[in-house]
Amino acid sequence: MKWINRIIMAILTVFVVASLTFFLVRLMPGSPVQVMYLELIQKGIPANQAMNQVNIILNVIPNEPLFQQYIHWLGQIIHGDMGQSIQQTGVPVIRLIFNALPWTLITVAIGLLISFFIGVLLGVLSAFVRERWTSSLIDNIGSVAHAIPQFVTAVALLYIFSVLVHWFPSSGAYSIEVFPGFNGPFIMSFLYHMALPVFTYVLTGFGAWTLQMKASTVSVLKEDFMMAARLRGLKQNTIMGYLGSNSILPLFTGLMLSLGAMFGGSVFIEGTYAFPGIGNLLATAINTRDYPVMQGCFILTTATIIFANLIADFAYTKLDPRITD
């Protein structure tokens, strides 16, 4: 019951965000209709005719009041239709998104997992050696890595690994010469292309985990049950298990939340590496005022975050017996 409520709430939130962005993107200066309309007029087509043509080409009714457009859009979205791209006439937004999403999702997920893993390791390490210089070194590295903007790291990595030494490719998600699908060459090519984006996610991501894990571990280490476990003569493995499970648990919610942040960061990272994911799609859409695509990216990202949160909460109740719901 509670979960059904939450799911309904989540869907509602996505809807509200979608509606808000509907109006927001249309407030941007330079509407695509205007651009095309003026282009046509300059070609010598009379005003009303030009409007007509824009109407046909762009799949929008020009001069339609915003609210009417919204009602229109509502009708579409209820049928699960996100509309068609304005700039790439005739291409459904869904298709653009599904072309871009896998790349982002996979790189973000791998980046997240690796950074989480490294962060947790370093955090535990730092907690164990606390009050010593290694610990403060780890902490400082963690917080600095966390504070350096993603695009700075991305540019630096690009410079080093793609420009100075040509270890990694300069753009794209895979080489066109391999056949996309579940085959060795394709996977290798993909891994090769995603190395730098993933590396960037890891470098900018692990710091936060290190700090959180350290804080969490330090507080668990202070807990009486850790001392108790030691005095009970439990094996070192068991004790580390106690420590690990108790200190990682609070990080789970953050794990899912950071998925959203990383989706946001993809705008910078994918831009820098010319990696054809959601971030790139969004940046292009913003540049060309491709409203439906912008909205599509927005809705998708928001939905991903919201549902990731939902899953995190759900998993949390399963993992932590203290939360009974």
């Binding site: 330079g30 010598g44 793609s162 066109i176």
Partner: protein, 584 residues
């Protein structure tokens, strides 16, 4: 099905990788508005224009062609050996449908195409509307060179039965209901034909390579064994990389990934790229540049003297060094024409009679003073005592920004409160015609090396007028502010007297003798040189980079027809067809 067809072909084992793609996630539809197929590679036109002298072509799909003396019919014979990639013959119907498609978008009507007749399987007759302002030469070039032949089978179904009636209506009175309806109908059909998404496997090709696969950043092509000149083609594969931003292409070039790229450079990158992988640079001419435009509705830029003073104040060469250091041509004498075109159309004396506007501080002072300006210790003041403000709006194309920045810096040093404002390109596109900016950077020149097009752009289109197919001028401005150039109908040019630039341009567009045209061009050039509706800063570099690491490219010294291919076509398509490229 298309996979591996050429795999046995020993000769065609090489791969050409080039940066040329622009589309991102578009449709595979060679007629589509976001087509991802590099049409040059997969679809060829009837003939390739050499861009040297009128009437000089390489035959591609066409065997022969002829323009009737009265200029009303143009007959083309198709090479009977021409085939589609699936082995079927390429016939007159394919050509017919291809040009019908052109009518849907209103393009063909613009050139004066009024009807097409299929004479036999390999002969097509094009009818030209004699009233049109489009010259015979241009008409011929459109038919032969500018349109790639698409498969008729695929597009037939998008052509309305009453196409030619609609085309006729389209050319009628602009205000009539029939014209409006026809336009609407045509656009609707065009849209259908353009937005359909075709699977590469269902497509057939008549060019040297067929599309195999696309990703969001690359396309893969494979040799078409049924291409008319397949024997000459020795590149088994072509990989096209999307040219989203220059730096992606630079990196690829620096990494030795590319055989060919058309990309601009900054000096440092140029030096680096040319050092490696046997890259070399071919400075292809291009008739586009960057210029400063004035909104002559806004004081003090309505004053010719102020504009001239600014021309004297700006060191264009210095700006170009910063904004477009590699491959760019100097703007030369300010006359509205591309430098080489001007040299071709104007005599040396005529050229010399034009003012050069080399940087000259004395002239600046003189002109501004005579315009009522005052120089104080705070810089120049306009006649009403306020500071002279020079605020240029630039779209965020970074080379432009850098160049304009250099100019504002120059002006500031001369006591003018100059400033650069950068807006994003979309906003800029929208706001320029609305007359929002007093000074702005914009593209310079028509899209053709034909002077008529250049002046058409400058004096008619940019002035918010348009030429109707029947040769009349029509004001398209929707508000007074929109007439941003606001060039008066009559300009009093010293040594020429009263000149009506718009009328002259209109005449230039028609069928005239070369001599008559040259006379008009001189008048217009002189007018431009005096009236200064814009200040050209540089001509854009259209340089191409080739790598001779894997391929040997043809020698272009003293072969302007080959050199021109770097500007107007994807050069290796032509070179491969002509059998001029060798693999290393």
């Amino acid at each position: 099905s298309t996979n591996g067809k050429a795999s046995g072909d020993k000769k065609a084992s090489g791969t050409i990788t080039y940066a040329g793609g622009w589309a991102t996630n578009g449709v595979t539809n060679p007629f589509g508005s976001n087509n991802i197929i590099q049409n040059d590679l997969s679809y060829v036109p009837l003939a390739w224009y050499k861009y040297t002298e009128d009437f000089d072509y390489w035959k591609v799909l066409a065997d022969s062609w002829e323009m009737s003396d009265d200029g009303k019919t143009f007959t083309v014979k198709i090479n009977p050996k021409a085939k589609w990639s699936d082995g079927s013959a390429l016939t007159a119907n394919d050509v017919y449908v291809t040009f019908e498609l052109q009518c849907l978008t209103g393009a063909a009507e613009g050139w004066g195409l009024s009807k097409i007749n299929v004479v036999d399987d390999h002969t097509v007759q094009f009818q030209r509307d004699p009233k049109t302002l489009y010259s015979k030469v241009m008409f011929e070039r459109q038919i032969l060179n500018n349109v790639a032949i698409l498969p008729g089978k695929i597009y037939e179904k998008y052509i309305p039965d009453n196409l030619w009636t609609l085309v006729k209506d389209w050319g009628g009175d602009k205000e009539s209901q029939a014209t409006k309806d026809a336009t609407a109908k045509l656009t609707e059909y065009a849209k259908k034909a353009q937005s359909v998404n075709l699977n590469p496997k269902d497509l057939i090709f008549d060019g040297p390579w067929e599309l195999v696969r696309t990703s969001s950043s690359q396309q893969l092509y494979q040799k078409n064994p049924n291409y008319l000149y397949a024997d000459n083609v020795n590149a088994g594969k072509v990989v096209a990389i999307n040219q989203t931003t220059n730096d992606v292409t630079w990196r690829a070039l620096k990494n030795g990934e590319l055989d060919y790229a058309g990309v601009g450079y900054s000096k440092v990158v140029y030096d680096q790229v040319m050092k490696v992988h046997k890259n070399s640079y071919i400075a292809a001419p291009m008739s586009q540049g960057m210029a400063l435009y004035f909104n002559e509705n806004i004081s003090p830029f309505d004053n010719v003297k102020v504009r001239q003073a600014l021309a004297y104040a700006i060191d264009r060469t210095a700006a170009q060094k910063i904004g477009e250091p590699i491959g760019a041509l100097e703007s030369g004498k300010i006359n509205g024409l591309y430098k080489t075109v001007a040299e071709q159309w104007l005599s040396k004396d005529q050229l010399d009679s034009l003012e050069a506007y080399d940087p000259n501080p004395d002239k600046v002072t003189e002109l501004l003073k005579s315009a009522g300006f005052n120089k104080t210790d705070k810089g120049w003041m306009v006649p009403n005592g306020k500071p002279f403000k020079f605020n240029v709006t630039v779209p965020n194309l970074s080379d432009w920004v850098a160049g304009i920045d250099a100019i504002t810096n120059q002006l500031r040093k001369q006591g003018i409160q100059a400033q650069t404002s950068v807006v994003d390109t979309t906003t800029w596109t929208q706001e320029v015609p609305l007359g929002k900016y007093s000074i702005y950077a914009n593209w310079d020149g028509g899209s053709d090396i034909n002077p008529s097009q250049a002046f058409n752009q400058l004096y008619i289109t940019d002035n918010n007028y348009s030429v109707t197919p029947s040769g009349k001028l029509k004001n398209t401005a929707t508000s007074p502010d929109q007439r941003q150039e606001a060039i008066p109908e009559t300009i009093n040019v010293p040594s020429l007297g009263k000149v009506k630039p718009m009328e002259l341009t209109l005449q230039l567009l028609g069928d005239l003798s070369q001599e008559e045209k040259k006379g008009l061009v001189y008048k217009l050039a002189k007018t431009t040189n005096y009236y200064m509706p814009f200040i050209p800063i540089w001509w854009q570099a259209a340089g191409r980079t080739i790598s001779t690491q894997r391929w040997e490219w043809p020698d272009i010294t003293n072969k302007p027809e080959l050199e021109n291919q770097y500007t107007y076509h994807t050069p290796f398509v032509v070179f491969q067809t002509l059998g001029l490229m060798k693999q290393k």
